[in-house]
Symmetry: C2
Subunit: 189 residues, 2 copies
Amino acid sequence: MSMLEIHQFLERLGNLIRSQGRRTSAGLDLQPVHLNALYYLSICNRYSDTLLAVSEYLGQTRGTTSQTIKLLEQRRLLTKKPDPVDGRVTHLKLTASGRKIVLQSWPSPVLKAAESLFPVDQQDALRDQLKQLLHTCQKVNDQKTFAICHSCRHNEKQAGGYFCRLTQEPLSPEDVTLICREHEFPQSA
Amino acid sequence: MSMLEIHQFLERLGNLIRSQGRRTSAGLDLQPVHLNALYYLSICNRYSDTLLAVSEYLGQTRGTTSQTIKLLEQRRLLTKKPDPVDGRVTHLKLTASGRKIVLQSWPSPVLKAAESLFPVDQQDALRDQLKQLLHTCQKVNDQKTFAICHSCRHNEKQAGGYFCRLTQEPLSPEDVTLICREHEFPQSA
DNA sequence: CTTAGCAGTTTTGATACGAAACTACAAAAC
DNA sequence: GTTTTGTAGTTTCGTATCAAAACTGCTAAG
């Protein structure tokens, strides 16, 4: 019963944010999905700034994402950099104007306006519950979690900093606050 | 800061539900937005089962909603009944197969699968917080609330039942559990 | 009885999206 | 070292979503 209502409220908040976003982001000539892609690229780490990662994060096919990326590149909101090692891979880096748009458009004006009327401790509680629900859904549906290295089972705290056992590379204190497409929680099942 | 993360989690849950929904509801030959419209019609009261109300609920224009309704009518998932008093208005009623599809598709399989792994008291807490956030957003953005008569300032508890001061009509115990496009919370500001 | 306003429809055009075929590169198989 | 299999990304095409705006028909106010 609760899940039914949770679903309903999620849809309604989503509709509110998206339909408002279509109107306001129309000034930027960008669609909601473009803002999502830009936001992802602003918080992902260096292993996760590829087209494939974006498409997995957004739940789209590669073809669709390819169109999205092409448009964002034409608008000079991101640049493509070929991977020095693997010739198939290109990394997507936000430009200064790309970062500016992320700062402008996140969070949505709808939520920003509600922020001051919504008690801070309730905001934190809601955030934690949503995070929990998202990760439960992802686990059940065998989806990638896209969480920060800090909570990843491949990440190892060492004397001088951090180390990723998967990529066999050291991670900086900033690195472990970014989200990664290879992220896996420590298995508790 | 919390709002930023809340927005992010809302989007990701939305994407998860929608991209999964596109796959499963493809079996029904319906799009996510159609399921939303059907669900709304299953929980709205007799003042709110019109095209205009649906379009306000979904945040679409009337033209877009008109297309949605036309398709649902062709699939025999709802029927149109002209209003006996106002010749401009038509009421939208779900058919038996329409109701069946609502029961099948709500809540999303993604959430249903997570239900058993997500503690019940946390479900209730999350539901209440989402409701709170939604209503705060709607208030701030001057949107209709679409909540149940039970919480409406126009509704009056009387000896034999309930009474709506706006429509000047009595409401049954079942009526006050349905959502209404004219709903307004008692003003506390 | 005229005018303003509302419920709903139709048409048009832009954009989003998935499916599938395709290119180019990489790594494993043999 | 050549073939096979797999992966990153692109292109094309058909379908669906959506808003904008012009439209019909009804209602209600002046």
